[in-house]
């Protein structure tokens, strides 16, 4: 099993560009999450999903969008990249009463 796979690992964007961070899991988990990690700030929840077709906002959703058309995939879309979106992004998945499994992260720089 691959677990949670995120692509790309690194990306540099120019201000105003858009991109999609990909996340896929092969554990048949119903819950999936997107977090961003900034130094000294821990992990902030951007969006989450409790199953295919169901998504909701977390603490810091502005500037992002998600979709969940299948159980396996949970892409995160940045429409108009801003320097404030420079961060490390983590995707995770879980069942209700188990721990979350994390991907290796995507390091995004917006210049």
């Amino acid at each position: 099993n691959a677990g949670v796979t995120q692509t790309p690992k690194f990306r540099i964007l120019k201000i105003g560009q858009s991109m999609t961070l990909q996340c896929t899991q092969d554990m048949n988990h119903n819950y999936m999450y997107w977090y961003r990690q900034d130094p000294g700030m821990g992990l902030k929840l951007i969006y989450y999903s409790v199953g295919a077709g169901i998504t909701d906002k977390g603490e810091v959703p502005n500037g992002y969008n998600v979709s969940r058309s299948t159980t396996e995939d949970f892409p995160l879309r940045l429409e108009l990249a801003a320097p404030s979106q420079t961060s490390v992004y983590f995707c995770a998945s879980s069942f209700l009463n188990t721990e979350a499994f994390f991907g290796q992260g995507t390091r995004l720089t917006v210049v």
Binding site: Y35, G42, Y48, N97, E99, Q104
Partner: protein
């Protein structure tokens, strides 16, 4: 809503010394509790979890944690640390009932530095 407070942002210790990383939480419902470790430039790995039962939980790499419901704490301990334990440690909570039972909330992390 729930919140997690990790009381120390940095903890420096010498090799083979004991360590305690403190975590307090706030929640209006019962919670599951987790400790994760993050090594440099890597994702988060689970160290241990409390779901129910015994309040003393043992995890990987010799770590353990004790759930104290009255003090709403879940402190992480190791009796003797190694250089390889240098990493950032995150405490997290997730409600085990109610309408928000999908939200996994993290503390800001504690950087453990083990010095020779």
């Amino acid at each position: 809503a729930q919140s997690v407070t990790q009381l120390d942002s940095q903890v420096p210790v010498f090799e083979e010394a004991p360590v305690e990383l403190r975590c307090n939480y706030s929640s209006s419902v019962s919670v599951y509790l987790f400790w994760y470790v993050q090594y440099p430039n890597q994702g988060l790995q689970l160290l241990l979890k409390y779901l129910s039962g015994s309040t003393l939980v043992k995890g990987i790499n010799g770590f353990e944690a004790e759930f104290n419901k009255s003090q709403t704490s879940f402190h992480l301990r190791k009796p003797s640390v190694h250089i390889s334990d240098t990493a950032e440690y995150f405490c997290a909570v997730k409600p085990n009932s109610g309408g928000s039972n999908y939200k996994l909330t993290f503390g800001k992390g504690t950087l453990l530095t083990v010095n020779p």
